[in-house]
């Protein structure tokens, strides 16, 4: 049985009348230990999809199941890494992670919990910065703290919502490698959301495009059969990588193209004739009767010079 199953889920926002459907007919099956990447344009509903799994949002219809049970709310079995880090700025690195650990492992002793926190800080290579506040850290370091916080809860699924899109390209590459190393070590199930095709193929077992139809639907999954660990430099020349990349980009571009809405609407032009302005500045303005409408004209004189 799949760890996470989404069956025919749909989700929209707004009330009757001003309602937008965001997701429709979503079907997703994630096996234990799988690394899934969901790729899509910004604004196409990726975060909404992640929220369905994390429990921050509820599907309007359809089922979202984990271990065969419906997901009704957030929980520590699904660690969430936010796009904007969402660290609490008044707590330092250790305290931010400890907040999660204290909540998930209340029966442990203080020493055990502190050790656990330190272990995950070391895992993301932040031990020297353990007592710094988030504002003293760079973007990449903050995102590492966020990853460590999610991992420290020892979740069954790690959900990452565009975790690296706020970072510069070089930092992004480093973090991709680091997170992929961590994953190779403990093989947690990962659902990673991104808008970067290279990142998707580099990291994933399966890449699933979220097609920008309106409402959005999931496209055909691409299985990435490149063996791990994947070398960032070598993979660029791998023909399988090139093929997958082209395939993925085509799928996304095609969906975008088909989705272009042609609007045909009849525009009614104003039925009004300009006023004779020569009268405005003379005393004759007293006789003005305002602008005329074309349909009020009984006779229209048109001068034609032959």
């Amino acid at each position: 049985m799949a760890l996470i199953e989404i069956k025919q889920a749909s989700k929209g926002f707004g009330t009757e009348g001003a309602r937008t459907e965001v997701l429709k007919g979503i079907n997703l099956f994630v096996q234990e230990g799988e690394f899934i990447v969901i790729i899509g344009y910004s604004g196409s509903g990726k975060t909404t999809l992640v929220n369905l799994i994390s429990g921050l949002g509820r599907a309007d219809s359809g089922d979202v199941l984990m271990d065969g049970r419906a997901i009704t709310g957030p929980g520590p079995d699904r660690g969430l890494v936010f796009q904007n880090y969402s660290l609490l700025p008044w707590l330092n690195v250790t305290e931010n992670i400890a907040l999660a650990v204290d909540e998930v492992f209340p029966d442990w002793t203080k020493g055990q919990r502190a050790e656990h926190v330190a272990k995950y800080i070391a895992m993301v290579k932040l031990s020297p910065a353990a007592h710094k506040l988030p504002r003293e850290l760079s973007g990449g370091m903050r995102q590492r703290v966020s990853v460590a916080r999610a991992l420290a809860m020892t979740p069954r699924v790690l959900l990452l919502d565009e975790p690296l899109s706020a970072l510069d390209a070089l930092t992004r590459a480093t973090l991709q490698d680091e997170i992929s190393d961590i994953w190779l070590k403990n093989k947690t199930t990962v659902i990673w959301v991104t808008n970067d095709p290279d990142e998707a193929i580099l990291l994933a077992d399966r890449v699933i495009p979220l097609l920008p139809t309106s409402p959005a639907t999931l496209g055909e999954a691409l299985t990435v059969d490149i063996e791990r660990p994947r070398d960032r430099k070598a993979i660029n020349h791998d023909p399988r990588f090139k093929k997958l990349r082209a395939q993925l980009i085509n799928t996304l571009l095609d969906a975008k193209g088909k989705n272009k809405v042609k609007s045909s609407r009849k525009l009614v032009l104003p039925d009004i004739l300009p006023e004779d302005l020569t009268k405005v500045n003379t005393l004759q303005f007293l006789n003005r009767r305002g602008p005329k409408r074309r349909n009020e004209l009984k006779l229209e004189e048109v001068e034609v010079t032959a």
Binding site: S54, G55, L56, G73, P74, G75, P76, R78, G79, L80, F82, N84, S86, L88, P89, W90, L91, L99, A100, E103, V104, M153
Partner: protein, 291 residues
Amino acid sequence: MKHFKLDSILLPLAAILACGFLWYVIAGRSVTTTKKDDWGDTVKVTKRKGISADLPTPAETWKASKLYVTDPFAKRGELDQGILRFTWMSLVLVAQGYFIALVVGTPIGFFLGLSKKFTTAFDPIIQVLRPVSPLAWLPLGMILFSGVKIVNGDGRTTFGASDAAALFTIAICAMWPTVMNTAVGVRAVPQDYLNVAKVLKLSRSKTLWKVLVPATLPYMFTGFRLSLGIAWLVIVAVEMLTGRPGVGGFLWQQYNANSYAHIILCILTIGVVGYVLDRLMSVVECKFKTA
């Protein structure tokens, strides 16, 4: 940069001198004339003349206030004490009333910020009560707490209805900025932080103390600062009406005693103390600017 620094001292100084001069010009001065009365004796007649005849000049003000300023902690009688001694009494009263305002106002602000229903229910009441003047609250306080009387061993009342009314008035007037700012602060807590609390499944009390309160602190302190300003504003009115000794009580009593120079002394003292309090609070406020 040096030039700029000099400016920041010289310009205010110039403005102060200009105001002092204006004061000097409109103030009245004593003019003594000798004239013969109906019996033919020469008598000295002292009259005050000037644009505002009864307003003492800066020099007269200083002469009359000197004793109070140079010996600020003297106690010559219940109603004749050094200016800082009076100020201290007022400050103690303000501190008590202010404390009540914060203790009551902050939770109300939190409820307003957290619950839409609570806001809908209580917002009209708050908006109506907010602009009511301290002068209006005080009589109500007197009625409300008319039964309050704490007597010490000697049979003297240490805490009576007027004390309770004074505290009530300060608290209820000073409370609103804290209430409003806390409410706004709670509403302004970023959804991200609340999502973190939800994902970590923090308990209600932990969400409050670890997420909501720290995130709201900067707003709360802005409210606290405004509240302190109002509490200090209210003290004069309260002391005037209840006749408590203090800087405001002293002001009113000296007005009744035709000792106008002391009124100016009191006004300046109230202003300076208010300014110092505000500065102190803004220092504390800066410390809590977490986010």
